[in-house]
Subunit: 159 residues, 2 copies
């Protein structure tokens, strides 16, 4: 069962990527949307790292094989991937990350290490229900949320 839940643990990351791409193809087929070559390539580039990656860094990578790539090329692919729940944007870094829980509801919770830069996506019921309770207490109805927790991952604490 690849798509390891922890970027901190060592693992064969090429399996993560293949798995993510495989899931993406399935999802897109189910949703009847087109995972075109550009979109798939961008998703692959995003999955090559457990760190969020910026749009212009992606562009630089993409441009190596796709000479015509320009900012809109990347941003369109990113928009598509977000709309279909395949990636998340880390708002506090203007950077993008593969979604570790495709298919589910789509607001992530992220643990972002301030040393190594990895971002681990979690999906903790205790967090979402706390948000729900707190919001209700203020008469507020949730549509979505941004949860970005900064600190030290297990590995970097031991350095």
């Amino acid at each position: 069962m690849p798509l390891t839940d922890s970027p901190a643990k060592p693992h064969d990351h090429s399996l993560c990527i293949e798995d993510a791409l495989g899931q993406a193809r399935l999802i897109c087929e189910q949703r009847n949307v087109r995972l075109t070559a550009i979109r798939e390539q961008v998703l692959g580039l995003i999955w090559q790292s457990h760190k969020p990656i910026g749009a212009y860094d992606l562009l630089e990578q993409l441009a190596k094989t796709h000479h015509a790539a320009k900012p809109p090329t990347i941003y369109r692919a990113l928009e598509f991937l977000q709309d279909n729940g395949l990636i998340h944007k880390i708002e506090s870094q203007n950077a993008f990350l593969g979604c570790a829980h495709v298919g589910g509801h789509h607001h992530g919770q992220f643990l972002i290490c301030t040393i190594c830069g990895t971002a681990q996506e979690i999906d903790e019921k205790i967090v979402s229900s706390a948000l729900e309770n707190a919001s209700q207490a203020h008469g507020f109805r949730i549509q979505s949320f941004v949860i970005e927790i900064k600190g030290l991952c297990a590995t970097c604490q031991d350095l």
Copy 2:
């Protein structure tokens, strides 16, 4: 007791502003840092709205009375105000908001209305302890966090 906890409730907002500026002067005196004219003016401009405001919108306002104002002018003031816990940045909007709980620890929790744009700062123990629990479960040590909840405020739900 001004500095109302809910921008949704009607209130005399000029009191909010005066109160915020008064608190800011106190804090800066205590911390032995200078709340200069520019910094105070920027803080006042930020407090004129319960909506997060962008740096260039602030610049436009500031420039009306301060002809020399340029982007660095604003960003320096914003940095100072953030460093001293007087404002927050809303990461998902690249915009700034007065801090409703000056003096305390400094990561906010925000309820942001997708209709009217107001952002209410809350400080719910249930949320912070849920984040703490969830992080610990993953061996992660929290340094700070970004919590931005989007949805409908009480007022806009009734429209």
